[in-house]
Amino acid sequence: MKTLAELMAIKEATKQKMTVREDTGDDAIRVVVGMATCGIAAGARPVLNAFVDEVAKRNLKGVTVSQTGCIGMCQYEPIVEVIQPGKEKVTYVKMTADKVAKVVNDHIVNGNPVAEYTVNAVK
């Protein structure tokens, strides 16, 4: 069973890997998941978890995953916005955990938004 003693070991291991914390400055890509009542009820929790997992798995630097309130289109939740400096914001709608790998691979890593998942595809 997991114990606090294990956490101490994780801390030591992580500290050695952590040189200077990665610079998530001006050129950082932000992934923002709507986590108000509407988003949560529509399944935003597994979507947010999937983004955190995928970003960690690929060891992507300069990508932050965070949460926000109601984005204002509750019928299209779970909604995810990908914000990259100098580029137009991309809004993904009706997201699922299964769609996350493609968004990370095509959009965040390779710079090609997944058009069929975006709000423009449903409107």
């Binding site: 500290k15 009542t37 955190v52």
Partner: protein
Amino acid sequence: MRELSLNILDIAQNSISAGAPLITIEVSENTTDHTLLIGIYDNGKGMSDDQVKSVIDPFFTTRTTRKVGMGIPLFKMAAEQTGGSLEIKSELGVGTEVKALFKTNSVDFTPLGDVASTIQMLITMNTDRDFVYKHSVDGKEFICDTRELKAILGDVPLDTYEVSQWLIEFIKENTEVLYK
């Protein structure tokens, strides 16, 4: 909501918005009485008596972009449909307590679901706040306090991936044993 753990995530967001530095989440189950108590307590900015009355109303919200707030009404409905109840106590400048009581043997009881995932998400997405998670079953109790975790971690942040993966297993395993 498909799981009560999602209601917990939702209600705790109100505590975050209220600027609460410390949020306590209590889950307490009694298997002989078939009752489950879920409490979300914070030391945020609190509400006036009028606001407390109106948050029960689905057409009240502090948001200015839209005129509905469904969080508390949904949680209240989930409790009342089992024969339970919801209570809110709040004081301006002191904080808010939301307590819901469920009858677990009701056919309309929504399962608690993945509460470990809710707590992990609250902790890792709000590392500037502190959380106390207390889960008890028939008097056996597990407590996870981020102040304790932060003391161990020092300058390693709680949202480090390895730490967050440990955290969800830590919560999951320690709550599962309460039911054995």
